[in-house]
């Protein structure tokens, strides 16, 4: 399959008063056409910075791209002109964020916002839609997400809807542009588990139907397991392990992933592990070599000086850890 998105060795930093925050440290991530890829990590590991770099919405300054490439369909997003980027955002990329109240404008009705998107994306494709067409597409998009009574929803303001409904509106907006790649940044973190289940199943269905590729960013291992085929585990600005979702979660290799999996409370009820000692390092002065080494119980001398490359464990499962050096 063709690679749709290919991030190579991306470095992103922030210049702040205290100094230079080196956040993304050589992120490599690829998404094939029609594939659903997960990006999992804890708070502050750089998940959202990665998404914002892809969309090029990081405020610069303070942000600075330190190097690397983000290839989308063979073109480097980082080198695109502003106009090319706008065109890309109009039809190719789309995103859902964690808090729908922040991504929806509170002073316009759902209808106004949705109509704008539908019209704009059609104009981008060189078509001007009649009012009736716009209306029917908007209603269709809302109906697809399983909204009851879309006609009424169109006249509502975001505050009048519940959290689950708002997120459905965001999904409708995101999918109404017929984009190829969707970046979903913790779309269900704020929702209750039954609502999360509904939204994720709907999202799964629609993505399948429209053949959209997805980068699913989340901190929940369960969500990733349900929704993605391949997963990347991120820690302190780099990807530590990547592989087919189910087999990776069944037998995690990297010490960080193993620690993380052990601390997820499970229904089998064998207790919760102590978690991983220490905390995420400061980006002002990140540890040398492998950024996980100060917290790692298997650290070797080489970990302190050299940043580990990916070692193959199977042909689809790779871990950036010197423990697996011998296996290649």
């Amino acid at each position: 399959m063709e690679r749709l998105l290919d991030i190579k060795n991306l470095h992103v930093g922030f210049r702040v008063f205290e100094g230079h925050l080196r956040v993304l440290n050589g992120v490599c991530l690829d998404v094939k056409e029609g594939e659903r890829v997960g990006l999992v990590g804890e708070t502050g590991c750089g998940k959202t910075t990665t998404v914002k770099s892809i969309l090029r919405v990081l405020p610069m300054p303070p942000a600075r791209i330190g190097g690397g490439e983000i290839d989308y369909n063979g073109r480097d997003i980082l080198k695109m002109s502003r106009r090319e980027m706008t065109a890309l955002r109009r039809h190719e990329l789309t995103a859902i964020f964690q808090d729908p109240l922040q991504s929806l404008n509170p002073v316009f009705t759902i209808g106004t916002q949705l109509r704008d998107i539908v019209k704009d994306s059609a104009i981008g494709r060189g078509r001007r839609l009649s009012r009736r067409e716009v209306e029917s597409r908007c209603l269709g998009a809302l109906r697809e997400t399983g909204m009851p009574d879309p006609e009424r929803i169109m006249t509502n303001y975001p505050v009048q809807l519940s959290g689950g409904m708002r997120q459905r509106v965001c999904i409708a907006e995101a999918l109404s542009t017929n984009a190829n790649l969707m970046l979903a940044d913790e779309p269900t973190t704020n929702l209750d588990v039954t609502i999360q289940d509904q939204i994720l199943r709907k999202l799964d269905e629609l993505v399948e139907e429209k053949g959209v590729s997805v980068v699913m960013i989340t901190h929940s291992m369960g969500v990733v397991r349900d929704l993605t085929e391949r997963v990347n585990i991120m820690y302190a600005g780099s990807i530590l392990e990547t592989g087919a979702t189910r087999s990776l979660l069944e037998s995690p290799k990297h010490p960080y992933t193993r620690g993380l999996m052990a601390s997820v409370p499970k229904l089998t009820g064998e207790g919760v592990s102590e978690g991983i000692p220490g905390r995420i390092p400061s980006y002002l002065d990140p540890p040398s070599g492998c950024r996980f080494h100060p917290r790692c119980e298997h650290r070797m001398d080489v970990c302190e000086t050299e940043s580990p490359p990916f070692f193959d464990i199977t042909d689809v499962h790779r871990a950036a850890c010197y423990l697996y050096r011998g296996e290649t």
């Binding site: 804890e42 609502i195 999360q196 289940d197 369960g222 089998t268 102590e274 991983i276």
Partner: protein
């Protein structure tokens, strides 16, 4: 674990009158907690978990119903509660970022409950505080003079726990103590809480929305929906054979991480609908609009809490009293 009941709640009701109508936050719930137990209280947002906890702690006086702690009814306004009671019942809040005063050092934060509850001399207090920080595994020399903003989320929650323990309580309400934290930090807090429960013989009312977590910490689990209880059962039975349709829906909605867990979940029940507003509670059983197994009677008659033996209570027409 002993069989003495430490806390009994009988027909607790808490309504909030508003301009939009009466919000029925907690609507007639009854349960009890045995000494040394951990009762898990689970429900979606807006189901009344926190209001229940706040009635127990005394933040709100109940609209009606009785709360009995160690044999004495305590359902009065906080101001009129005896100090001794405030010493015995403590609470840990969800977000340690907002429950710790950012302008006070940890020493100042911890000294408040000690002062209020009568540790007179400064030197004695300092020794107590150091000991408290050691109990929650924070080195006192390093942490006493820090401000909350200088420490991580997990450590802040440890301080909040230390503050709750400062008065040597018997009963601690944990209101989602780990839901603002990452999983790798959560493990440490949970293990600490469980160890403290053993060592200090504490009883917990543990509020959360995470059922997988409940499986690992609670001795009994209760499910709340729209201000009412749906089911209470011992943890192992609860997860082995959930009875109430809402419980089954909740359990089947949990995203799990291994095959083994997948096999423990009940058959997939498609979750539908959302929790209605507590201002407009549907007639009959409050869950009937979302229930996949509803009967004609459900929309008319509110089911009673029915005891099915072994401490199991279910409120559903599918299980009439026997």
């Amino acid at each position: 674990m002993s069989d003495t009941t430490i806390l009994t709640i009988e027909h607790l009701v808490k309504h909030f009158p508003t301009k939009m109508g009466v919000v029925r936050a907690v609507d007639d719930i009854s349960f009890d907690i045995a000494e040394g137990d951990t009762l898990g209280l689970v429900g979606e947002s807006g189901s009344g978990k926190t209001t229940t906890a706040q009635c127990v702690v005394g933040i709100y006086p109940p609209t009606s119903g009785r709360i009995v702690f160690e044999g004495t009814p305590i359902g009065v306004a906080f101001k009129r509660r005896p100090k001794e009671l405030k010493r015995k019942i403590r609470i840990v809040f969800q977000d340690p970022g907002s429950s710790l005063n950012p302008k006070r050092t940890i020493k100042q934060i911890l000294s408040v409950p000690l002062r209020v509850h009568g540790m007179e001399t400064d030197r004695k207090r300092l020794a107590m505080m150091s000991q408290l920080l050691e109990t929650v595994e924070l080195p006192p020399a390093e942490y006493l003079y820090k401000y909350p903003q200088a420490i991580g989320g997990g450590e802040k929650q440890m301080v909040a726990i230390a503050r709750a323990l400062a008065t040597n309580p018997r009963f601690v309400v944990l209101d989602e103590p780990t839901s603002a934290l990452d999983v790798s930090v959560q493990g440490k807090i949970i293990n600490l809480l469980m160890r403290l429960a053993d060592e200090l013989e504490l009883t917990y009312l543990f509020i959360t929305h995470d059922l997988s977590l409940m499986r690992n910490v609670a001795t009994r689990v209760s499910i709340m929906y729209l201000g009412e209880l749906c089911e209470i059962a011992r943890t192992d039975e609860f997860f082995q054979s959930p009875m109430h349709p809402y419980t089954k829906m909740l359990l089947s909605s949990i995203p799990v991480v291994t095959e083994e867990e997948e096999s423990l979940k009940p058959k997939k029940i498609v979750s539908q609908g959302e929790i209605p507003s507590p201002v407009n509670v549907p007639p009959g059983c409050s869950f009937h609009l979302r229930c996949p197994e509803r009967l004609p009677i459900c929309s008319e008659v509110d089911p009673e809490m029915t005891a099915l033996g072994n401490g199991r209570v279910v409120r559903c027409h599918l299980f009439p009293g026997g």
